[in-house]
Assembly symmetry: C2
Amino acid sequence: MAILNASKRHQPNTGLKMTDLFAQANQANNISFGMGLPDETVFPSAALQKAFTQAIAQEGADIFQYHSTQGPASLRQKIAAMTKTYFGLTASAEQVILTQGGQQAIDMVGRAFLDKNDHIVVEGPTYMGALEAFDSYEPTYHEVPVNDDGMDIAHLKQILRQFPDIKFVYTVPDFQNPTGVTMSLAKRKALLALAEEYDFYIIEDSPYRYLRYTGDMVPSIASLDTSGKVILISSFSKILSPALRTGWLIANKQLIALFLDIKSALDVQPSQISLLAIDQFLAENNIDEHIRAVNAVYKDKCATMVHYLETYLPAHVQFTKPEGGFFLWLSLPEAQDAGKLLLGPVLQEANVVYVPSEIQYASRQIKNQLRLNFTYPSHEDIKDGIMRLAQVLKSI
Amino acid sequence: MAILNASKRHQPNTGLKMTDLFAQANQANNISFGMGLPDETVFPSAALQKAFTQAIAQEGADIFQYHSTQGPASLRQKIAAMTKTYFGLTASAEQVILTQGGQQAIDMVGRAFLDKNDHIVVEGPTYMGALEAFDSYEPTYHEVPVNDDGMDIAHLKQILRQFPDIKFVYTVPDFQNPTGVTMSLAKRKALLALAEEYDFYIIEDSPYRYLRYTGDMVPSIASLDTSGKVILISSFSKILSPALRTGWLIANKQLIALFLDIKSALDVQPSQISLLAIDQFLAENNIDEHIRAVNAVYKDKCATMVHYLETYLPAHVQFTKPEGGFFLWLSLPEAQDAGKLLLGPVLQEANVVYVPSEIQYASRQIKNQLRLNFTYPSHEDIKDGIMRLAQVLKSI
């Protein structure tokens, strides 16, 4: 039934819906490679509990009051320092805005720049949450294929020649969600040169960068930017805890006032309680050591999944071997529909959940691929789940 | 300087800006009647600290994981029970969505229903944060004057005859932000009858309803609604703590799936840590007793401000006498501009901050009125500030 007075951006969508998948992922008898969840055993729970208690004790009643839209300066300074370490970017605390997870930062970028039908570029495939956010602003999408070394720059150049008024290019350059691939240095430089030439922003969304298991760090796009074209988004969700709902956006100073107006209209300000608890955690604990410990756990899980995929997958299925992050990517023969397979034999016989490619492409056209998460399931579930999935995939 | 690629909704605004005012409000030598802040002494700080510690201890690592977009059922059940007590509305936990303060719920309503140039009705004056949120969706505003017993229904009927395709009417019916007035029962019924006739939603935004100092409770609009036309928004910000950033939206079941999709695109989900801490607080403490204690403090502050206004204000200035809430409203002679006065003698001689009417009207046309907050300043600051403000207002 149509909803009374609904806006055009929210007309009923008859396609595959994420919420349906997540309901499946939560069924106890299914092994979930679907959602991008951290492993709960890596949360520094005791230290975080102590940080909440200490932050409230230190601040007293004032911590429960309204505070600033941008977030406390002490935490923004620590994030600037982390950004120097992990992104090689020198940014001031004034350039950092705390957001409600990285997702809110993505939405704020849409709101800042997009009028209806404006042109933007996304990777194909890309982070499905970014598509959800941008959909609200009804843009015209252009999709650039992702190769093993990141987005296809030649294809991007073709798009730009035809549509030079691109507002921004959205990319997840490090251990991309969903493919797991990392953009090469040469492509990062080429993308920046195009941003200069065509005057568009690069939205560098990089929540996974801290989580490298093999190979060498590639310079961040933001660290190579000399003209304020890069807006960097990151988050504590994948390295500390997603329930803190704390991400951030780093941009050139001219943009900060605009983003603060947007944040204020969205939800006034972030939670001082959560932010000062994080600040306290970072003051009392070594975040670099914590990240190394997380990496050790995820490196093994990634290796386990790759091992069982190599052992059991039939030859007609290809997959990526990521050097970090949360995900890897399977490509089935072109005639296959991973969504239909999921709702058919994969859920019914293999009891495995993954995310089909259809909802990870802005075009919704490519259906024969799928995303697997390796950080949440146990080693045993990875083994069992991949063996059961491979069994189904052998018969297609 | 124009911002590269900014969307039309975010072109530079040359008028009075809230952020400038808030900077003034934070100057130590000024007495602030500006922002709508609670009194920090009423925060149940020790009980909230204990609730955070207990919630984390009980849940263990799982509290730091991703959870649901809607928020935990146990807290939604408690909110449904509070809604029965304070709003006389029987709603199920399934009809409650937790939001990032009431502000996010307002933004979600805009996103759900508004295409560019769609028609909506707001009160004149209205909550300036709602205007900030709705501005993002570029609606056509219609403004209904607020009388001592709420919005002018005859004026609303005129608007509806001319523009029958109104998407929604946004109202703060209880101790309105900014005027402090409460809508009468007769007007609530008339508004509902019009919603039926013209098929629009009523957005009943009521964060102050719990805070009644004198007089009798008027039935909520939602409790009188028999056809799912009312969307109710409320929050813990004014009764517990704004730093919890926790509000909610209650709507008919058909709308819940739409609002969950919107919430997911905005910021994925709320913070399980904050929500389970609130749930724990509500399980261990009597919220009704707490609200009675808050009311006792604010009732006295309201009386103090009214007393000094009656004693010192010149006869050419009128003001409202609210029965609850956070604010009262002053009307200066029509030729006056409260914004210019503020930036001139009020800040420079009286060292007092208030919010001028200009930014609280969608039309931006009425400039001779202003909002005073009485919950944040001490009794002494109320006395000193009102005497100093009255001195300036005598000379206009």
